[in-house]
């Protein structure tokens, strides 16, 4: 077991899983309940070692399933604890009913979600099918491009969840981020602890002076209002996320927003993507710009709540856009990010951009520089007026 602890902060080489475990050590939640699953297992192994070595005083519940992992995390949070968990793929799917309960009960849980394909066929590699399947579960979703962002997102997620009273999942691409070593700046413990602050919930089950019932049955007379309040809370969390980003910049000098724009402002063609693929796209954009092609990138960080109005505005004057989805919704129409973006454009009265949907990388299949160049080449054609079908999904690098 690699045990790397840097209480005073350091620039080090870490995998995504190690960076997340390090964030969890610094956060030192009261309770963590988790179950092993590739490629997220390592996070909990490292975290367990921290406890075994007496470095932190958290309670670790080595549950017998992910359903119980989320159940115990929910219960610990309701009881008044700062509670966290982590999972991936089938584990997230096994948590499904509990995910909706975590958000419905407005519990500030933070989960490290390592993106992995969903069975069948069984596959352990990275795509976004798992977290995209939970996109309407009432969880805030923060996606990461690399280990640094994963580490930074974990720290911000604590503040966001506790202020918004909503659960937050921080995702990393399975293996591409979770198992690849990169340079990560670990901040000093005291700065992280000062940033997240103490957790003092207004109401909690262990408060014996104020006992209460949580999880009551809500029928036709109240259910709708409570679900509306949840929807409103997610909408309102947009401001919270931005405020936390501002504070984070003040403390750690790293800038975060709903999304990152890369050479987008004067772009004529653009790709929208989530996660680690953004790094490869940036490289291509730079090459194209060197050739005088006005290419750009919009990398989404906050997928839920969906920054609909802002994204529509950013993309309004772009001639041709490719939305790259690393999951397929099997809806018979389009993949998740595409559907969200086209709805956002249309509802904001923006109908000029031609928008292409590209599904790529399912089951961890590599996406190459050449394939991304190909997508931009298609966008160039569309932008110049050449007809290209945009009402079907383009499956990238699949044998048909």
């Amino acid at each position: 077991m690699i045990k790397t602890v840097y209480p005073t902060g350091k620039i080090v080489a870490k995998t995504g899983n190690e960076a997340i475990a390090e964030a969890m050590r610094q956060i030192e939640p009261d309770v963590v309940a988790a179950y092993p699953i590739t490629p997220a297992t390592e996070i909990m192994q490292i975290f367990s070692q921290f406890i075994a070595d007496g470095i932190i005083g958290s309670e670790y519940i080595a549950v017998e399933s992910e359903h119980s992992a989320m159940s115990a995390t929910i219960a610990a949070s309701a009881a008044g604890a700062r509670a966290m968990t982590g999972t991936s793929s089938q584990g997230l799917a096994f948590m499904w009913e509990m995910l909706y309960i975590a958000s419905g009960l407005r519990l500030p849980i933070v989960m490290a979600e390592v993106n992995r394909a969903i069975s069948a066929p069984i596959n352990i590699h990275g795509d976004h099918s798992d977290s995209m399947g939970t996109r309407d579960s009432g969880w805030i979703q923060l996606y990461s491009e690399n280990s640094q962002e994963a580490y930074d997102n974990m720290i911000q997620a604590i503040r966001i969840s506790e202020k918004a009273k909503l659960p937050v999942m921080v995702t990393t691409d399975g293996f591409v981020i979770s198992h690849c070593m990169e340079v990560v700046e670990i901040y000093p413990d005291k700065d992280v602890k000062a940033f997240i602050g103490d957790y003092n919930p207004d109401r909690y089950l262990l408060d014996i002076k104020h006992p209460y019932t949580l999880g009551a049955i809500d029928l036709q007379d109240y259910y709708f209002e409570h679900r509306y309040q949840l929807s409103k809370a997610i909408e309102d969390s947009k401001n919270i996320i931005l405020n936390v980003s501002k504070d984070f910049f003040n403390s750690f000098k790293r800038k975060y927003d709903f999304y990152e724009k890369y050479m987008l402002d004067d772009a004529e063609i653009a790709i929208v993507v989530i996660g680690s693929t953004a790094g490869t796209v940036k490289l291509v954009v730079k090459e194209l710009r060197n050739k005088g092609i006005k290419a750009g990138l919009l990398k989404i960080r906050v997928y839920r709540p969906f920054p609909s109005k802002q994204i529509a505005k950013e993309l309004a004057s772009i001639k041709a856009i490719a939305i790259m989805d690393k999951s397929d919704s099997c809806s018979g129409a389009f993949a998740p990010i595409y559907s969200d973006i086209v709805a956002s454009l249309y509802s904001n009265g923006i109908v000029k951009p031609k928008v292409l949907n590209c599904v790529y990388g399912l089951g961890g299949r590599d996406i190459t520089i050449k394939q991304i160049i190909n997508i931009y080449e298609i966008l160039i054609k569309i932008a110049s007026g050449i007809k290209y079908p945009t009402n079907i999904i383009n499956y990238i690098n699949v044998r048909k």
Partner: protein, 312 residues
């Protein structure tokens, strides 16, 4: 030691106004548990089911203590999460008082869909008491068979038909399954013998580590009897040895109530609509089989008591 006089002075913690049926065993069970708790601080969790939906219709609650429900399969996992939160906050000095944790689940929520979560929580040795209020079928959804429904009982998913006469299979022995986890305290009881049940709840709460009570809780709707017979039927389950009252403490078996005389199973079966078809001429062999099974299990239990006593 609790007696009727002291119970009469008990301040209710499970209060009236809930929507359980008249004569419902689950409500009686909850009340007896909270009598046993006396003045201890507790947090209660419950699986989805009659007890939960009928007592917490928003914005009302029948529970004066903190009560938490989230889903069907996870009462044990939920209780383990609360207990872990307590341990963590107590260690950090954020909570000072002593507290106990009680999980409720019906037979389906405990022994079928919730069995995995129960087994995990017991193995992890959480300091909690799990009470299975066992009414021998999925009553909340309308009397469907569970793994704990006894042979011969008619339910809406094991009905009486041309080819079968109610449930064909035996019920699974949940108390024995739990005892196989080697936890400090396991007991079987029934609400008809309130002193037995209350004593066992108190004993369970005094023990460090996980404890479990499987309490027979008649359901007047699903068992189909007159609501005033709840306690009498519960006692008959004990007197016929269909539902023996016993405990397993650190592996030692002890029968709590020895019926004398041991009544025939028909005394228990004949009062309930769910067994009415068994009294038809063609079905007498089912009753005979039930009697044979009960005799065998009762004798085995007595043997276990004898053998484990020798090991002390």
């Amino acid at each position: 030691m609790i007696n009727l006089k002291s119970l009469s002075k008990f301040t209710e913690r499970f209060v009236s106004g809930h929507r359980l049926c008249p004569g419902c065993g689950a409500g009686i069970m909850a009340r007896q548990v909270l009598m046993a708790v006396e003045k201890k601080s507790i947090v209660i969790t419950s699986a989805t089911g009659c007890l939960e939906v009928s007592t917490t219709v928003f914005p009302y609650t029948a529970w004066k203590d903190s009560f938490f429900h989230s889903a069907f399969a996870n009462s044990a996992a939920t209780c383990s999460g609360i207990e872990s939160a307590y341990n963590s906050l107590k260690k950090k000095g954020k909570i000072k008082s002593e507290m106990k944790f009680i999980a409720f689940g019906g037979d389906g929520g405990t022994g079928d869909i919730g069995l995995q979560a129960l087994s995990g929580a017991l193995e992890r040795q959480h300091n909690m008491l799990y009470i299975c209020y066992n009414n021998e079928a999925y009553m909340n959804t309308g009397v469907q068979r569970s793994g704990l429904t006894p042979k011969g009982a008619s339910t809406t998913t094991a009905p009486i038909g041309v080819f079968s006469q109610g449930k064909v299979q035996n019920s699974k022995d949940l108390t024995q399954i739990v005892a196989a986890h080697d936890i400090p305290y396991v007991a079987q009881s029934n609400i008809g013998h309130w002193h037995d049940f209350i004593r066992k709840v108190q004993k369970a709460l005094s023990i460090k580590g996980p404890s479990f009570i499987n309490v027979l809780t008649p359901c007047r709707l699903g068992w189909n009897y007159k609501s005033e017979y709840t306690m009498a039927i519960a006692r008959l389950a004990n007197e016929t040895c269909i539902w023996p009252s016993y405990e397993v403490e650190k592996g030692i078996y002890k029968i709590s109530i020895n019926p004398n005389p041991k009544k025939p199973v028909i005394d228990f079966l004949k009062l309930q609509g769910r067994f009415k078809h068994l009294f038809k001429k063609d079905n007498i062999h089912i009753i005979n089989k039930i009697q044979k099974d009960v005799d065998l299990k009762w004798n085995n239990l007595k043997k276990k008591e004898r053998i484990t006593a020798e090991s002390i």
